[in-house]
């Protein structure tokens, strides 16, 4: 009875005629008030699983999402589609904007909020007054100690849920191995959540890993590949600088439109690059992991990793952007022995060294309370995520209570040991993840089977040549060349102005 109505609602509100795999099943359970854990592969449209219910339920849908840019993007897109009663509460809002939003929060059906905002007492208080009918946790793997992007501000989510009146919970993730799934439920205190787990393997993608001696070899190889087949392509880098550099080199070497994209760019330029790529005005985009969230381009044919990611989960997410139209696509990872250093450096920036613990406690001896986060970074010479880790540990061991330092020799000794142990655990975990990724690069069997092994049992049959082990070579790949970016003809400004203003037919 529900089904025909749901379809109607889907096309009415979102203009889609069909649900994608898993969406309908999750939405039906959500509408019946069940707690649901949904694991859907990237690109399937996780967000629809709460966006549609938010329109059909009586109260407010509260969505906790860790990525502000993703949140802001979704709100923009919903508004463009005509869904007006939606808002994102985040730390980018200035005081006035935030007060205005809080004062009329009950007018919104769908409220996105970042986890750190939930710690803000004023926001917390306002949220209590709402009639929350669905509590959504996006990127739910961040809750778990074993999730690849564990975020300290994502903890205590169970308490938040209780404070807003224990509404039904929907936890969503694209990459959560079985142990993470279990931990999510445990952390939320909802061990009876209904599972909706969908396979994450992509039958339409081929895999290849290429080993090179030098960075220059990689560049030469990429030039060759791009020149041979002009196709919508993404190239991932782990640094902004190399993304810019290679983009510039490719621009000079090739007769194709290449641009770079990273988090350090001006907001309008970021939007322009995204839109150019969406509208096929760009062939190749050289980017960091900052690109991709909220970009739903169907016809990306190649995802090249100039640097490999620090973990299999990120890799799966990034190749998930290819071939969303279901047509053949390929992932090529380029590897030089030197590349191992980069992920190591990234990891070191994320986690403190053991010596930082002594430094921290020496600092605490001379202070009665913590300073602002920024000042703490500076005084202790820690990166943001390093400090977040330590701060959380201090709170957990009760060395810090409401920013005040608690002096107690015994407590401190215990805390130090505890923090040291946790730090080692986390390091080991990250290292394991890194090795898992590297092992996959060196793996000599079927890459498809190996890649998805930690997440699911077996894979579906590939619809394309499977991987370099199973006989795939990128040079012979048939990846549909007709989809190249539009030829950009550089007319002079007056012609372009006419085109923008749709004046061509009138004046010619």
């Amino acid at each position: 009875m529900l089904r025909p109505r749901l379809h109607e609602q889907l096309s009415h509100h979102f203009g889609f005629s069909e649900f994608r795999e898993g969406q309908k099943e999750i939405i039906e359970d959500v509408l019946q008030g069940q707690d649901v854990l949904g694991i859907l592969p990237t690109g399937v449209g996780k967000s629809l699983c709460y966006q549609l219910p938010s329109l059909l339920m009586h109260g407010t849908t509260l969505v906790v999402s860790p990525l502000i840019s993703l949140m802001v993007d979704q709100v923009k897109q919903l508004k463009a589609k005509g869904y007006k009663s939606v808002i994102a509460l985040n730390s980018f809002m200035d005081y006035r904007e935030r007060t205005a939003a809080l004062n009329q929060l009950n007018h919104y059906r769908l409220i996105y909020v970042s986890p750190e905002m939930l710690q803000n007492p004023k926001i917390e208080k306002t949220l209590h007054t709402l009639d929350v009918s669905l509590f959504v946790i996006d990127e739910a793997h961040c809750i778990s100690q074993w999730g690849h992007e564990f975020r300290t501000d994502y903890l205590k989510m169970d308490q938040v849920i209780e404070k807003v009146g224990n509404p039904p919970v929907l936890a969503l993730s694209a990459t959560a191995a079985p142990d993470v799934q279990k931990d999510i439920k445990k952390q939320l205190g909802r061990t009876n959540m209904i599972d909706h787990i969908y396979p994450m393997d992509k039958p339409n993608i081929s895999f290849a890993v290429e080993f090179h001696e030098h960075q220059d070899d990689k560049k030469g190889r990429i030039r060759h590949m791009l020149a041979a087949q002009r196709l919508p392509t993404m190239i991932y880098f782990s640094s902004r600088q190399s993304a810019e550099l290679v983009a510039e080199e490719l621009n000079i070497a090739l007769d194709q439109r290449v641009a770079f994209y990273h988090g350090g760019m001006e907001q309008m330029d970021r939007l322009l690059v995204q839109q150019q790529f969406m509208k096929d005005q760009l062939d190749v985009i050289c980017c960091t992991s900052a690109f991709g969230m909220g970009v739903d381009k169907p016809n990306i044919r190649r995802v090249i990793h100039y640097h490999f990611p620090t973990q299999v989960e990120s890799y799966i997410q990034e190749i998930g952007r290819a071939g969303r139209d279901g047509k053949p696509c390929a992932s090529i990872v380029m590897y030089t022995p030197h590349d191992q250093l980069l992920p190591k450096m990234l990891m070191e920036r994320e986690l403190p060294e053991e010596s930082a613990i002594e430094r921290l406690f020496a600092w605490l001896t001379n202070h009665s309370a913590l300073l602002s986060d920024e000042e703490m970074h500076e005084q202790l010479q820690l990166s943001e995520s390093q400090w977040n880790f330590l701060k959380y540990q201090l709170e957990e061991t009760q060395v810090i209570l409401q920013s005040k330092v608690m002096f107690d020799v015994e407590l401190w000794n215990k805390a130090k040991m505890h923090i040291r142990a946790n730090l080692r655990k986390r390091w080991n975990y990250k290292n394991e993840k890194f090795h898992q990724m590297r092992d996959w690069l060196y793996f000599t069997g079927c890459r498809r089977l190996k890649l998805y092994e930690p997440f699911q049992e077996g894979v579906r049959n590939a619809e394309v040549d499977c991987c370099d082990h199973c006989g795939f070579t990128i040079d012979d790949a048939q990846l549909m060349e007709e989809e190249a970016a539009d030829e950009i003809t550089h007319n002079s400004w007056d012609v372009r102005l006419k085109r923008i203003f749709l004046q061509e037919s009138i004046n010619e």
């Binding site: 463009a80 330029d269 102005l497 749709l502």
Partner: protein, 356 residues
């Protein structure tokens, strides 16, 4: 263009300020020191024309000017123009006159640009019956303005008027400026290009791309402002724009307290700000408002003293003045007199002292 602007600033400042000082001016730092510099050296036109300019890029460009022998650095590490630099500057179009009027308009230009970009995108996409485009400008106040404008539907054939006005304005600019400006526009299904893409295609620096487009906007803004009846569509983007009087709203507030008779100390208490901040506000007011009376802060006698020393020394360096005046006046008093003496209407106000 960036090189020429830097050279122009360096020429006017004559070795009395560092590259950082010049950066602050072009970037539009709202400190009384920077405001004062802009007045002192008659560089108001460049104030705030490039808010996103980084210190690093200003220094990099200065270094390249040094390599090209256009400038050298004096003992205090302040840049000075060389003969070659002078020649280069004379040949550049900066000297034929340009349309920058930063001090007066830089904040309005920012708003004007945002509105214009969103207006073009909205008007052309409505023509295409595409109402689900992602707005190129995210500023909520600009989006609200756009919605209001659209609901009221003020001009019957907005698309054509806007096209014709832009076409006419762009024709008056250099070919390069018109190219860059047009290719950065988003609308009618075309997506604009990034600064880096334009820099690559036209073999320019990113700073030059930014400034050439900015210059085009200054021209557009000013021609619209002066001939509103000829540019009804562009005039829409001027709606509600106040004449820029005071630079900071904080200074404005301090002035309001002053006007109802509070002392500086009272205002310090009331606003919980430092005395030096409140003094900055007063200097700011003296710089900008010709009718601002400084007699309440320093005696006529003192004003005369400071002015005489100022003229004798012919320097704008506060420290030198402070020492030459035997520490009889504090920095606030000196800055205040220097500020009010330098603005355009000084002849009228300080007639007594200049005759002495």
């Amino acid at each position: 263009m960036f090189a020429a602007i830097l050279l122009d600033c360096i020429q006017s400042i004559q070795g009395e300020r560092s590259i950082s000082g010049i950066h602050n001016l072009i970037q539009g730092k709202k400190s009384s020191q920077t405001l004062q510099d802009a007045r002192l050296y008659k560089l108001e036109r460049y104030f705030g024309i490039y808010p996103s300019l980084s210190k690093l890029n200003a220094h990099k460009t200065a270094e390249s000017l040094e390599r090209r022998n256009f400038i050298r650095f004096n003992q205090e590490n302040h840049p000075v123009l060389t003969d070659e630099g002078e020649k280069y500057l004379e040949d550049s179009f900066m000297k034929d006159g340009n349309f920058f009027s930063g001090m007066e308009h830089h904040r309005n230009i920012i708003l004007f640009e945002k509105r214009l970009r969103l207006l073009i995108q909205t008007v052309t996409h409505s023509e295409l019956k595409d109402f689900a485009f992602l707005p190129i400008v995210e500023d909520p106040s600009v989006q609200a303005w756009m919605k209001r404008l659209y609901r009221n539907n003020v001009i019957s054939d907005l698309l054509t008027s806007l096209y014709e006005e832009l076409n006419s304005v762009l024709s008056a600019l250099s070919h390069l400026e018109a190219e860059l400006f047009t290719r950065r526009l988003t609308g009618g299904g075309l997506i604009g290009e990034t600064r880096e893409q334009l820099a690559h295609d036209y073999h320019l620096s990113v700073e030059d791309v930014d400034l050439l487009i900015k210059h085009a906007l200054f021209y557009m803004y000013r021609i619209t402002l002066s001939r509103q009846e000829n540019y009804p569509a562009l005039t829409l983007c001027l709606e509600g724009m106040a004449k820029e009087t005071l630079i900071t709203s904080s200074a404005k507030q301090t002035l309001q307290w002053l006007n109802i008779g509070l002392s500086l100390e009272d205002i310090v208490q009331k606003r919980r700000l430092k005395l030096s901040t409140i003094q900055d506000h007063v200097v700011e007011a003296a710089l900008i408002d010709p009718s601002f009376d400084i007699d309440g802060f320093i005696s006529k006698e003192g004003q005369k003293d400071i002015l005489t020393t100022l003229e004798n020394l012919n320097t704008n360096k506060l420290k030198k003045l402070f020492e030459a005046l035997d520490h009889n006046y504090n920095y606030f008093e000196i800055r205040l007199v220097v500020a009010s003496s330098k603005h355009t209407f000084k002849e009228d106000r300080h007639a007594p002292s200049s005759t002495s």
